[in-house]
Structure formats: C-alpha cells, structure tokens
Symmetry: D2
Subunit: 337 residues, 4 copies
C-alpha cells in the first residue's frame, strides 16, 4: 500500500498535517532491540532545527513552526525494549493553525500537490497540505531510529551530509559560511533554495541486495524518491560515470568503488546523492490558481523554510536506514539451502 | 520476489545468459489486447542494433553477438490477442559459447557481478554472467511491448532518446556524427563509454500515482535503477533544480513542468533522465581478480559493446512502459467510493 | 507483513492485551465514506456481550472483562467522512490487570500460544497474552465497520449467525434456549465449549475474485483462519459435498448454489461456516507447564468466557467484510483493456 | 498476482488446458538443491493414475486423457542442481483435442467456471477450460517436488492420504475395496463422487508461522482452497472441536495435538483435512446453459474422472509443501535481533 514501505521491516504511516496526530506502525522489528531515546531526541531535533555542518548553524532558515514532537509509543515496547510485535507511535499536532489555511482551501499553490491530490482522491484536506506536507516526515525519522539501532547492532552506520546548498558546495567551514550568507540574502528577498544531500552506508557486508528487479539501488532509489521535493538520485559515480570511458571508469571505481555490483553490495561503503528542489512557498508572495483557472496573489504567513536542506539530512538517513535494515533482515532467506 | 516487477501488471523473468533460454511470464495483462507483432520485431531489433538518432547508425559499436530472438509464446494469447491469463514466452539462446567463459569461471571481472553473486547465492553460473548479463534485458523488451500497446489504447506513448554519449550531447545531426567519431576512436583503442538516456511519457492523464511512499517517481526510479549499468536517475528539473532559487524554479516549472506533484501525475509530459556507466569489458584487455586475491590479465573475445547506449533506449522505454501501465491498471482502485 | 491483511484495503493492527492501547491503520479506504457511528457502537457491543439469536441473551457466558472501547480516530477522517488517507485509530486498554498475570509469566497455559510465541520471537509479553489474546480482535471489528459501509454502498451486506453451540444447533428459539441451558450447566462445572458460526454475503455481483491461486475462497479462508480458536472452514456445500455423487451435487447446487465457481463469484449468495474450539481457560482449573517440564495447577481469575461463539459472530463478519471490500476495490483492475 | 503463490519461494504458473503448454517459474528456491528426478516422475505419475491406498488400484476411474508430462526445464538448473535463479519449466500439451470443445464454446457447463470466467475477464478460452482446468495442477506438482526436496533437507516430510471416497472411509484394505466397488457402480451409471484427503506434516520444528493475520493455518488454508473442487478445510481437531467441551478438548489435544498454537507450529505433526466435491462432468450426460438462458443436454466424450480423489493426493501434498517450504525460508527473518 502507498503509505507503507519495506518488506520484512515495514513502516506504515498516518496523519494529516493539521489533523489530530501523525504517527505510524513499524512492523517486523525483531525483539530485543533497545530504543535509543537519545538518538530519537537528537534525530527529532535535527529534523526541526537542521544539521550544523562545520559547526555552522542554519536554524534561522528553518520554519518557525515548532512542535514538541513528543512520541507516544502505544505498543511493541516493554521497558524500552522491542517485543517483536508492531511498534505503534503517535505524535500530536500541537502547533496547528487551520485558520491559516482557510484562504487556501480553494486555491492550488504553485508546485504543491493540492490539485493532483484532488485529481487522485476526489477531495483534499481543507486544513492544509494533509499528507502532502513535510509534517509527515517526522514519522520517517521515528522509524529510522529503530532501523539505525538495528543496523548498529550489525556494525552498520548511516551518515548523511549536505553536499551543497543552492549550488554552493559545503566542503569547508568557509564554504559553509558562504552558503549561509547566500541564504541570508535569499531570506531578505523572501526567496528560497534547494540543495544536494549525500548519505553513506558504512560497514555494510557484501552480499546484501538482490539481482534483476529488486536491486539494492532500486530499493534505495524508491525510498529516497518518496521524500518530498526530491528530483534526482544517484549512487557511487552517478551521472559522472556516463561521461567517462571504460578504462577511466575502472580506475575511478578502483579508487572509490560504487559499492554495489549487480544489485548486490560488495562490502565497500555506498554513497548516494539526492537532489532537492527549493521550497515553493515564498515569503515574497506566490501566485496560486483555482479550479476555474483564476490567479490569486498570496502572501504566506512566514512559517516556511528558506532552505529545508539542513533539516532533510536526517530524513534521507532515515529512509536509507529503513531500506538497509529491511535487506539485512531479508538476507537469510534466498541463499543456499 | 526479485525476478518480478509490478503490482497488477507483473513481469517475472527467467533465464541464464548461456543456458537454454530466457523468457518470462507477464501476468495481469487485461484480455482483448492485440499483440503488435511489428512493434515487437522493431523493439527487439532496436535492442540488437541500437537506435539511429538523427539517422546516424551506431550498429558498428554494438556487440556482434546476434541471436534471432524468436519469441515463442507458450500461453495467454489466442489468435494474437490476450486472454487475460498469464502470457508466458521463451526465447532460445542460440548463439551461446560457454567455452568462451571457461577461462572466466574462477575469475572476477572488473565491475561485474561475478563476486557479489557468489557472496549472495554461494554459487554462480560458470557459463557466463548468468542472470547478471545484458542478455536478460530482452525479456524486458517483450514485456514492454505489451505495456506499450496497453498504454497506446489509453492514448499514452513512451519515447526514449539518447541525450548524450560519453559526454557528447546528441542535439543535432552534426552532434550525433561527432559522437560517432568519438566512438570510432574509442573502438580503435579498445575502450568504451557510457551516456545518458531520456524518456518522455506523453499523454499521461492527471491523477496517476500515489502519495507518500508509493510515488510515481519511486516506481519509475526503482524500475530504471534495475537496468544494468544505471548509476543515476532524475525526472523533470532533476539535479539542476537543487541549484535554483524558489522563484526561478517556479518559473522554470511553469515553462517546463516536472509532470509529477506529490507523487501524482499532473497531466503534463514527464521526462526522466538515466545515467549509464560504460561497459567494463574492454577489447584492450582487463585485469580480473580471483578468490585468492591474484590478478589476471585478460583479452576478451571481442563480442562486447563499445557503447551500449543506443541499444539501451528501448530497455529504458520498456521499464517505463511497464511502470506506467501498471499504474494505469491500478488507478480505479483507491479513489472515491 | 503478519500484522496486516488486504491488498488494496489493508488493515494493519497493533497492541498488546495489557499494554497501553490496541488499534490499527486502515489504508486504502476510498474517500467520501461516512463513518457509521451507530454501526460502530453496535458492532463493538456485539463483540462485548454477544449476539442474541432468537432474542435469547447469552451475555452471562461472556467474560466480565469490559472496557469502554472508546475508539480514538487519529487521522483519515474529517467531519466523520474518509479523506482517502490512512485511518488510524487507537483504543485504550483501561481494564488491564497485569498483576493477574504475574503468576503466569513463566507458565505455559494449555492450548495457548505462550510457548510457541517464545519459540518464534525469543520472548513474550509477561503481562498476559500480548498479541495472542482475544483483545486484539476489537481492531478487526473497527476495520470491519468501514468495510461493511463501503460494501453497503455497493448493495452488499454481510450477515453472521450462530449455527451451533457445543453441538447444539440454533435453529429455533427452543433450540437456542436448550443451548443456553447447556451453557448454564457448563458454567456450573467451570467448563466451556465451542461452536460453529456461518456468515452469508448477500448481493455480491458476479465476477468478483480471481482464478488459480488467489481465489475468492482462498482469501476468505486465510482471513477466517486468522481468527483465534478457528479450526475449520468451509463454503457452500462444504464437507457434505465430499459424500455426494456428482448427479446429487449438481442438484444440490442448483437449489442452493455455492456462490463461487473457479474462484470467482457467480452472483449468488455465498455462505461460509467456521468451526471454533472451546476457550481453554477453564474456571474449574487448568494444568500449566513450564520450561523445565514441570506441571502447575492453576485456578483462573474468572474473567474468561464460558462460550465465545455469540461474541465471535461480529468478528467473522468483520473479516469477511474486509476480504470482500478489498476484492470489490480490486475488481476494476485485471479485466478488459 | 493471482497466478502466483508464496512470499520467498514463489511459484507463478501459466498455460491453458488446450494451448501450447503449461508451466511455471519457481523463484526464490535456494541454490544447491538437487532436483530429485525420481520423485518428480513418481509424483507426476501419481497425478495421472492416482494413489493406491492399501495397494488397491483406482486407475480405471481416472480420465483416460494421458500426456507424457515431459518437463522441459528452461533455466535455474545446472547439472540437475539449482543455481538460486528462477527455475522455469514447460510441459507441452500433447493430447489436446480442441475439436471436442467446439460444441462447448458457447455453453456453460454445470459447476464449471465457464460463465464466471467470462464475467471476470470478458472472454474465455474457446478451446476448453483454459486455466480453469485440472490440467493446470500439473505445474503445482512440479513446484511441489522442489519444495519437498528442500523440506527433506530440513528433516520435514509431507504425507497425503485418502480419508474417504464418497463417504466411504479408507481405513483398511477391505474398506478400500468397498470404495472401489462403489466407484464401479458409479462408473456404470455414468456418475461421479468426491472425497476427503488428509495431509500430515512430519518433523516441522516449533516456531514456524506467524501470529495475527499471517498464521500458518491461514497460509495452508489459502493454498489448499486454491485447488479446484475443494469446499472445506480443517486442521487438527477441526469441526469436531466445535462440539467438545473445553475439558474434553484439552484432553483430546494432549493425545493428538493440533500442531499449531497462535498461528505458530509447536513441534508436533500437523494434519489437515480437505473436502472435494465430485467432478461435475458426468458420462450419463449433463445439462448446460447458454447466455440466452437456453438449456442444452450434452453427452461428454468420456475423458473425465469418475473420482479424482486418488489423483488429488499429490496435489494437496504439493500445495502443503510449497507453503511450508516458504515459511521455512522465512523463519530467519522476523526473530531476535
């Protein structure tokens, strides 16, 4: 189903942005895994205020919508340890302001899913983006924490990083400060920008994944492309590989292996890169359309991100962790008799 | 399972490169669809000799391994029309030369799945690449022909194109001839190269696809990443979108829409771009490794591609068609009561 | 996953018997369906106090564990109407008495899943039956209410009935009173009994279901066999058909059709029969075992059913409704182009 | 999809009764399993001529349609041993007589899927039963042979038996001879009958199966109910359990355990019972209907079974083996971290 991801370790999520709560059920998590509460708090906070590459704080470019994100675990845990049963969790939507959206309920915002949602379901939540809102991603972070803990027990770690913001690479502290200055300018203008996030899987053993249609990279790509605003995905040498000659590529891959061959991990680190387009709610104002084709100029309330990239690193990590944990649990199945 | 793709329209494939046959079962295809034999022959031929962008022939850079590719339909058709039952087909492997591979059976070729396959399954086919061979892709083309025909009945067409070969864009006849000259040089040197293929879905109605995890782009990405040698995937504005500001991006998307919002088609054309690394069997020779860490210099037999991009366009089309046809069949399900 | 059921309309449930809450997510429910609150309350009550065949009340044979069963809807509904998004719901476990189970945490009760659960998951909930408790079935009833409403919109109704209790058929008011007298005797002796429930699907159109492996009866059987204590399933002429001759059977089926041919509905009513073994917690006392093979005589606390059949009718209905609603949503897929 | 069964070990079948071939793809079978050719031949023969309980031969009551059933393996095996890749196989339909069916192509035979198939797919194979024919079951037997071999390697065996034929229990040689005499009478009259088959799983370890919806008995029931003509399924104490008191049932289950608790195997043998209705093509003649409601008396050609029960034992075994092998491959997944 379209609100579930994973085969063995399966996350099903629920919740509208301005409804009562968002949450999910994580099914298939083995018993005996201790919930790492510190990691949970850290990852939830990273999603709210964003990462601080090279120690530089980008929090001022994140939406001021802040909710306590208190995760209420309803099942599946006893004394903080998993039972092997479905782990249900709910996070109340405390900072909801449906009134802010009343004016929007008949408008289609540019590059939002307002209209396509109507075309698909015949209706949409009049109280805001509904499921097509970044609010939904908090449930991925919770699922990701269990996946990361499980992977940790297998010596595998998942590390996300900002590669670039609005075309500005974050390769040093100076570069990060330049990117910050760029964002300050954009904020001044009521504009926004996107960026590229990378994520590396360390410690993955060889032999994980499947050939033909269910390749490791197919699973990763599907999970990553499900994150709002993602427009591109690559792994290893990515789009650059298309420009090299075979002899060059063999040398490149010797130095820095792609990590996957034939859909199966080869024991090297795997790095993916993820391109995200800018947030399309601009403080400078946006032009919305309506069902009759009319245009409406709108000044948003200011509770939106100038740049969501720092806040999205943990989401990319969560989706990556969910995919890899799922494949780790699967690995004892289709092998030798 | 890892040899199947699709939910409603499901293709399951079989066959080792140097075994008796390759083939598949296409399940879930509605009744009453006429098999388009011309399209089948044309697409099978495109996979053998490659596309001819701007009329330029790239056949000389394709592997001389040529098989008649006679598709033997075992079930699911009566008088060339589908019955609604599983369509089974088999294509004999006539031009097999297992002896060519005897020397390889204990070696791991660079950037091939020889070793990872062993790590995953505890064994591998000593007669060549087995399932991890481009031979497998012929079954995707057959499945794709049914998907294209079904889509055609819905006014949807799928059009693949070569965007670039080894970094040379194919934007005109002159550019295509330059790319051909580049390939001639590579062939001389016994080298190879990769490229980028685009594929456009025309006529897709709005409202196709699903939100949250099962997005249209997630399905496309998973299917495309399952094609051998693919390293990158993007749709619409892709990686470029990460560098633009929000105001720029809104304008870009007005001119040339991405075609998907919130995981659901918006009625505009959708274009994906696919990056493929070069074929890694080089006529100039390759260095293989063995299980003991030894290195072995090898001179391949010459039955390999200098550039597989012209031959891969139809494969990208087939996978795209299978995904879209599957979603078209699904679209009557989760909507209004 | 093993806590989910359904393809298009998918119910995933959670919750331990003596944990914080039980609940679920119903995904794939179309938009625009009004929650029938009266039906919800009626069905929840039927699960607590049991059906009253021929007006005879069997409530005194039901467990005195009574919880308010207040269903808290967390998502998927606006003004009582479905949005097409996942419907999450939670029901607090108010009447929990974990202390009652402390003595049981190292014992294996006869014919309970205490030991097999440990063998499967390496642990079990020390606070009672965990997921292997009849408490879990309340979530099926909630899912079933949405399924019934959806079916109602299609002119389909699901009607469960008690066929027999402990071998006593319930074919008349007198028969029902005899069955009640039988239960009174059992209660006196601290004993229990089982029974047979039938369930009829009225108004199902022809052409629902699938041939070969995914038959309508396969789906029904799997769903029904997932109800605790079920040991037998049949539809239409059932086990009796095995004893008839072909000519007899053709006549029987003309009078009272089985309703399914080749896995597909034929437009006639379909009736299934479900055999349930007696509840195995006896007021007269039970002999439990432990991991060391020791035996322990135990006098239960009295919060158990003498006969769970009257309370199980609504559960059989719910599972039946979930299967049929799922197939109804699926029916537009694999048909003609 | 509806022509596939299994999660990890997945059998997908194809083929119309009077088309070119029937066959399938068995995906997910581990590498290194030797195909037991003797078992394959024996099981294929059992499906043709039927079992011989107590040494009594029932072959004369089986259809005289006999095909060599030469299984052509197209992939997945090398030197008779599995590679871990999909095992494709095809069995030619040699003894087809489409002309026999010409008169039937507009008629609906009693209790056949002729009409429901049309209602579901908008068409049906005019050359006979198509997929809704017992011919299809030969592919289950082939899949079952691999499953049985895999189970054998784990010390598990599957043993089917005839419990009764047309109400005549087969509990001794004398009883079997009485049943045979009964069939001779039926044959004389051009009539048919059904029966009950049991199947026992020996050596199954404890801890196999899943709780809640994906119970061991749910999987078994779905698989068994997919066999043509099955109308009832039970395991262990089955329908009898519904008539016993709790204290009786605890004693019965102590002597002869059901083998499954909470959806999970407990280490004891599991026995299922399967009720099959009589074949409904009677040599004495049948009354068919047509789309206009007309009735047509028909004298079949005589190539049909008087009793298909002896031939069906191996099919029940095959489906049972496929389910258990699938669960055995799954068992390393959802357990402890």
């Amino acid at each position: 189903m379209y609100n579930s991801i994973g085969n063995i370790l399966q996350l099903t999520t629920f919740g509208e942005s301005h409804g009562k709560a968002v949450g999910g059920i994580l099914d298939g998590c083995p018993s005996g895994i201790r919930l790492d509460s510190d990691l949970l708090q850290r990852d939830l906070e990273r999603r709210q205020v964003g990462d601080k590459p090279w120690g530089i704080d980008f929090e001022e470019f994140a939406t001021p919508r802040r909710e306590p994100d208190n995760v209420d675990f309803l099942s599946g845990l006893i004394d903080g340890t998993t039972l092997g049963t479905p782990i249900a969790f709910s996070i109340g939507n405390s900072d909801i302001r449906p009134a802010d959206y009343q004016q929007l309920s008949h408008l289609y915002r540019p590059l939002h899913a307002d209209r396509t949602w109507e075309q698909r379901f015949g209706t949409r939540d009049p109280r805001g983006g509904g499921r097509a809102s970044a609010r939904e991603t908090v449930t991925r972070v919770v699922g990701g924490v269990f996946a990361k803990t499980l992977l940790n027990n297998h010596g595998i770690s998942i590390e996300g990083r900002i590669q670039s913001i609005g075309g500005h690479p974050l390769t040093s502290k100076e570069a990060a400060m330049e990117a910050k200055a760029y964002l300050s300018d954009l904020k001044q203008n009521g504009d926004t920008t996107g960026g590229v996030i990378t994520c590396t899987m360390h410690g993955l053993p060889a032999g994980i994944g499947n050939p033909v249609f269910d390749r490791l990279q197919s699973r990763l790509a599907a999970a990553i492309m499900s994150i709002p605003s993602v427009r591109g995905f690559e792994f290893g040498s990515g789009f650059r590989s298309a420009q090299s000659t075979g002899s060059q590529y063999i040398n490149i891959a010797k130095e820095s292996p792609d990590g996957i061959l034939g859909g199966i991990s080869d024991g090297n680190d795997i790095t993916i890169a993820v391109a995200m387009h800018p947030v399309c709610t601009l403080a400078q104002g946006i032009t919305c359309s309506d069902a009759q084709g009319g245009e409406h100029y709108l000044k948003p309330n200011g509770r939106h991100d100038v740049c969501h990239i720092p806040r999205s690193v943990v989401i990319v990590e969560a989706m990556t962790a969910l995919v890899i944990a799922d494949l780790i649990l699967e690995r004892h199945t289709n092998t030798q008799s």
